[in-house]
């Protein structure tokens, strides 16, 4: 036989739609604003808590969203909600990022949540959200979060400029496929 034995599409078409309508799977996690809250949680040792907090803190500057001005950052994270990041603009100016508002851990309690920093946005200040802007609720202590939200957050760089590709497609009105 010179053809594929079977064909399946997981994203395109209507058969794919029914698959994505399923409930999102959840995983065990714990969320804390401070290390002290973590140490007070039954079943967690001080060493574990400091270890997880440090791991989250170490990622903060890498994964937090980046802004060219404090005002832009505060528009998303509220007054006094931002700090200077280690990044620099082209012109040598400061790049801003939100303050770390807490941390999430999961593997200590047998869940799959990736240990990471959490943030609070201005428009939804009660909830924690990840650096990838996925909400994980407002409960301190043991909780359940969507697996997608508990994934390792992506690195966020400071984007200096966009639109440096695509000029030929615009000029010709043709996308370049053939």
């Amino acid at each position: 036989m010179k053809r594929s034995g079977k064909i399946a599409l997981v994203m395109m078409g209507t058969s794919a739609l029914t698959l994505t309508a399923c409930e999102e799977p959840k995983t065990d996690a714990a969320i804390f604003e401070t290390v002290e809250q973590c140490v007070a949680e039954q079943g967690l040792t001080s060493d574990q808590c400091y270890g997880e907090f440090d791991a989250a803190k170490a990622q903060h500057a890498e994964v937090a969203p980046k802004y060219a001005s404090r005002a832009d950052c505060e528009a998303d994270f509220g007054a006094e909600g931002c700090e200077v990041s280690p990044y620099r603009t082209n012109a040598g100016g400061s790049v801003f990022m939100p303050l770390m508002a807490g941390f999430m851990m999961g593997q200590m309690m047998g869940g799959r949540a990736y240990t990471q920093p959490l943030y609070r946005s201005r428009d939804d200040s009660k909830s924690f959200r990840t650096a990838d802007n996925r909400t994980v609720g407002n409960k301190i202590g043991r909780t359940q979060v969507a697996e997608r939200a508990a994934a390792r957050p992506a690195q966020k760089l400071y984007t200096q400029q966009r639109g440096g590709f695509g000029a030929r497609a615009r000029a010709t009105g043709f996308g370049g496929g053939g």
Binding site: M1, K2, R3, S4, G5, I7, A8, L9, V10, M11, M12, G13, T14, S15, A16, P65, K66, Y87, R88, T89, N90, V95, D132, N133, A154, Q155, K156, L157, Y158, T159, Q160, Q161, R162, G163, G164, F165, G166, A167, R168, A169, R170, A171, T172, F174, G175, G176, G177, G178
Partner: protein
């Protein structure tokens, strides 16, 4: 090889919708056409197309091998000097490629002749891999074509397999230009395959790519783009504003940089120079090559970087017939021996043979009325039956 009238499936538009085939009738013009189909024998496929493609791909590798060792060749291909080192490195590092399509003049009788190789941004992939396959199964089921028919089409399985072997770490970004239904359909399909291979994917538009302070390219979330499938020609990427940033971006491109050597009509002149007389090649020369005189007064003039037949000109004894207008030609031309497409019931089919990870993987037949197969050609399904 024959062209057979086949009754269209009554519900094919609904089947298309169910399978996410949204561009079958662009701007009201028919593109998918199942009112007939091309029948091939297994020998016509295997001996006439599949084996030659395997051999041609090896010959193409020899051209790349030569190009990366000889700046003169890269210069003749009008590749910007800034990218010579980058292209050579992508080849030496054996960066894997995903797919390509070789287009042939073929009537089932004489040897197939290579018109050109779209090694960089071929479309018509989804309809070849999926909708043509579904047509075959349903057409057999409904008795529209004989039971026991087959199709040269293992694209879907091979694409998933190839995505799994690219070595992608972290998310794979897939990008094409905005406002291009056909290109977007191709990218959506490839994303589907990548997901099935277990990759995390992120789709974006080429216009949205950002440049970070450390020289990385970024997506709209400011995340670095480490692996990028781009349905956007290499020669455009290289000359656009961010082009100079590519070599130090840390982004791995699919198709890799060395595909720029193959997706260039100059390839056809280089192949002829290195393998003159090969039965699957048409005599082809760079326009400034005195050897081009050997073609006499009948030849086809093709811009080095043309796509979808744009700016192609037929010259016959002083008369010229133009292909569609387009933006190409400033980069130079090749002249290829005139080899008209065969005619079946007044229609002219071109056989496009797909390669996945450099192996022959399937076929599409596109039909046009004129001598140049353009964006307006119809996709006609095929089947194999001895």
């Amino acid at each position: 090889m024959e062209r057979r009238a086949v009754r269209p499936r009554e519900n094919w538009q609904r089947v298309a919708a169910e399978h996410g085939f949204t561009f079958h009738t662009p701007d009201g013009e028919r593109y998918w056409d199942e009112s007939h189909a091309y029948r091939f024998t297994l020998r016509e496929i295997e001996d006439g197309l599949e084996d030659p493609v395997e051999e041609l791909e090896q010959m193409c590798f020899e051209v790349v091998e030569r190009a990366v060792a000889d700046e003169e060749v890269l210069c003749r291909l009008a590749i910007p000097e800034m990218f010579w080192g980058y292209i050579a490195e992508s080849w030496r590092n054996r960066e894997r490629n995903l797919y390509g399509r070789m287009d042939f003049c073929y009537d089932g009788q004489g040897p197939a002749k290579l018109y050109e190789y779209n090694a960089d941004t071929p479309t018509a992939l989804y309809e070849s891999a999926i909708f043509q396959w579904v047509w075959l199964e349903q057409a057999m089921e409904q008795g529209l074509i004989p039971e026991g028919s087959d199709q040269f089409n293992s694209l879907h399985e091979r694409l998933i397999d190839a995505f799994g072997r690219l070595g992608v770490e972290g998310p794979l970004h897939l990008a094409c230009a905005r406002d291009t239904d056909e290109d977007l359909g191709t990218v959506e399909y490839l994303e589907d395959c990548a997901r099935q291979a277990g990759l995390a994917t992120q789709r974006m538009f080429i216009e949205d790519i950002g440049l970070a302070d450390d020289g990385s390219f970024t997506d709209l979330d400011d995340a670095p783009v480490r692996w990028l499938f781009k349905l956007y020609p290499w020669e455009w990427l290289m000359e656009e504003e961010f082009g100079s940033r590519i070599p130090r971006s840390g982004t791995r491109f699919i198709e890799p940089g060395w595909k720029a050597v193959l997706s260039n009509k100059g390839l056809l002149a280089l192949l002829w120079e290195m393998f003159e007389g090969h039965p699957n090649l048409l005599p082809t020369y760079f326009e400034d090559d005195p050897g081009a005189a050997a073609l006499g007064g009948r030849y086809v003039r093709k811009p080095l970087l043309s796509r979808e037949g744009a700016n192609i000109v037929f010259v016959a004894n002083g008369r010229t017939v133009m292909g569609p207008d387009g933006p190409y030609g400033a980069e130079g031309f090749v002249r290829q021996a005139y080899a008209p497409l065969p005619t079946f019931d007044g229609r002219r089919p071109m056989c496009g043979v797909w390669l996945v990870a450099s192996e022959p993987a399937g076929m599409c037949v596109r039909e046009d009325e004129g001598a140049v197969t353009t964006d307006d050609a119809c996709f006609v399904p095929h089947f194999i039956l001895d």
